[in-house]
């Protein structure tokens, strides 16, 4: 295991997943691939946390899920952003901006 291992900050996983799903319905594996490639392999989603997170978001109604066929004709479970998921995303993005801005300020100041 020589790839850089960056466990996601607690709470950011939901943000990333929701953001990823704005591109359209996607299965779990697709979500990990997407996050990994967009972050240039820097962020890596642990499978062990992804599925519990996806199911929790489903229970909370932020995403809905249904079975579909993947590009190479595999059966896969596709997650789709719901309207309450969009609201949640907006909320979390705002939080994230506030967080990064505050962290940056601290770093500049110190």
């Amino acid at each position: 295991m020589n790839k850089p291992k960056n466990d996601l900050l607690q709470g950011t996983l939901a943000l990333l997943v929701l953001k990823t799903l704005t591109r359209g319905p996607m299965h779990g594996y697709g979500i990990t691939l997407h996050i990994q490639s967009v972050s240039k392999e820097f962020l890596r989603v642990e499978e062990g946390s992804l599925y519990p997170a996806l199911h929790r978001m489903e229970q909370d109604g932020w995403v809905s899920a249904e079975w579909g066929a993947s590009q190479n004709k595999r059966r896969a479970r596709y997650y789709r952003l719901t309207s309450s998921g969009r609201k949640q995303l907006a909320e979390e993005e705002k939080n994230w901006e506030r967080l990064t801005k505050s962290v940056a300020q601290v770093l500049q100041f110190a």
Binding site: E47, G48, Y51, Q59, S70, R74
Partner: protein, 887 residues
Amino acid sequence: MSLIARLRSMLRRERLDRELGDELRSHIEMRAADNLAAGMTSEEAGYDAQKRFGNTTLLKEDTRTIDIISWVDECVRDFRYALRMLQRSPGFTTVAVLTLALGIGANTAIFSVVNSVLIRPLPYHDPDNLVMVWESSSQHPNPHNTVSPPNFLDWQTRNTVFSSMAFIFDERENLTGNREPEEVVVQAVSANFFSLLGVNPILGPGFAPENGQPGHDNVVILGYGLWKERFAGDLAIVGKSILLNGHPQTVVGVTPQNFNWFIKDGSLTGAKPQVWSPFVFPQAFHDHKQMGRFMTVAARLRPGVTASQAQSEMSAIAAQLEQEYPDSDGHWGVNVVSLRDQISGDLRPALLVLFGAVAFVLMIACANVSSLLLARAASREREMAIRTAIGASRWRIARQLLMESLLLALIGGGIGVALAVWGTNALLAASPRNLLDLHAISMDLPVLGFAIAATLVAGLLFGFLPSYISSHSRISETLKEGGRGSSANRRAFARNAFVVAQLGLALVLLAGSGLLIRSFVRLIGVDPGFNANHLLTFKITLPQSKYGKDLSCIAFFQQLLARIRVIPGVRSASMESFPPLTGLGAATGVHILSQPQQSLGDLPVANVGVVGQDYFSTMNIPLRAGRLFNAQELAQEKHVTVISQAFADKYLRAVNPLGQKAVIYMKSDAEAESQPSEIIGVVGDVHQIGLDTAPEPTVYWPHPELVMSGMTILVRTSTDPLALVSTIRNELQQMDPELPTAAVATMDQLLADSLSRSRFTMLLLGIFSVVALVLASVGIYGLIAYSVAQRTQELGIRIALGAQRRDVLRLVLAQGTRLTLLGVAIGVLAALALSRLLATLLFAVSATDPLTFAGVAALLAIVALGACFIPARRATCVDPIVALRYE
């Protein structure tokens, strides 16, 4: 998160599981395919994809936790697992379940009695405000003495603490008419009796206030039982007339089925009432000088008044009355007793002792099961260690073990409740007449709730320690040492402690029942003062209307006795007004003329017995001095009396009682004073109330001296007394077809009845302590047997090295002896501390009777060591070769 959604998910769990599996598999396959495309070998590709997931099972569980309320789900799984574990060891399960069933069943059965007697509200309106008001005298031991009518009237007008007061007195009356004559117990009551209790008849209007006025009192309320039996539950009974002692009475009501008013103290008949009729005080009842004490008084406290406030005001009123009427009220005070205490009074100590005893039995049972679980946990240590190693948390393991305990408890509790239902019926069947109200005791909701609570508490109690120790074991050691790991010591200590505790608890119970047995032996060793064998008793009450004249009354009884005496199988026959063991006697003041005159209240007090011909010889009461009544004295008034030894000892100690003259205040004062009785003889004492009550001073009169219309006939037979009842009834029918025989019993039965409460308590406590003894023995047996099994190897080596049977035996028994002695010592201390709770139940035995304590300690030690001896002997038979190959 939506609870409903998750609950729904739980129901669809299997599908969800399958879907989750599919989802994860598709993820892995996609990853593997990509890996393959990136140039890995297919083996590497699959492995990498799988590895990234780590522990798929854990992941699945974590994910499922999101979908389902996991703990409910896990509990269900634990439950299934526990069920499988119990099925797999049927021997253990059977022993544990039966032990628990015994403990929970006994607790539930006794609680059902406790509930009905001590807890369940009495079936009256606002029962907490109901009290009984008694008189009590500094000169009499009885704190619940009946009340005189003039005092009742004065209390009623002077008190401010009661919203109402009612009086009650009972008598037997002949019910004639539609069927064969029957003697029934009638309570004469004030017209407000039922409204005071807040009880409404199920039929009819009940008593109206004007029924308390002269001329309007010819009405009755029928008890439910009599209405059902004698009147076949006639729904149109109200308004009909019944004949009581020949007088027509109009039925104005029927009591509810659960109306079981019966206050034994102060009852002249000692029997449950069947009919109630309003009673109007005649003018004489207002006269303090003339009236004796014979009424029971019930009262309802005014709202906001406590029983102790009522007590102090009533005491003040009694003090006024004492001043105003020193002759009749000297030394007399008032005793206010709450109705609940009145009813449960004598039963409470016995019930609480029994309840404590069954709680002990349950604790011993719990200790046994806990000890079994500990032994089993040792053999399952590896299983637990492996479960911990692959990721089960402590809590998870503890919970699983607790689930097994609870399951055991639930099965045991279920069987226990069934046992309790059966046991309660057995209890009622074995319980003496009149002791427990049969209808009142049932498996109702509070009892069931108690059983469930007892079950859960028991499950947690015996399950806690084993599951705690198992879930806190150190895995590595356990796995290394092959199952005999770190927890072994803690378990051994816990099991030893359990055995000591069990033995201690068992000793307390054994001491308690030992004391009761000794007390009972003392009690039945008491000489009643007469011979109770082959003695038939029954009561005849002649109606005033027909036998009003004294002469016809005397003649009737003489003729009846003469007819009975010639019946084959009858050796002798006589009669007494209040023979021993048939209820309270009548007591009065006696003035011995050679002693200074005192106020009525200060006079010596004696029971008065009115007797027929041959009474003392029929009863086998010995003559101590002087002579008995002769034929003339038994035919007409000759003013003579025979006194009991206790009377002579108490009041005539210094003088020869024979020839002394005494005024016995049982007739009107003038009549009594003009006809003092000469003492002609002294006879042996009899126990009037019971064997546990000291004989009271008694004076006897021949029947003509005080003609009573109600007499108890006593027939000494040479065969079974009850076999003669129908012949005697025939004779009676020939003389007067309307006369019933009441309270037919043999004196042996009466004697047994008077002992029944002591016998009942002793029997139950005895059973519980035997159960405790057996359980504790099983406990110590199990422990020693287990430790022998554990030490087989060691014992084998010892034997191989030359240890003798004796050495091995001593080695094993030493452990048992230490535990036994410790348990017995702790038990003796605890029993010494607790046995004083038994004091009120004991007769002529001290609560710390050394003989009893030594006896039960020895018994327990012998049984416990005997239980140790079985595995110890097995240990001596260990074959060293086999033992060394062990493992």
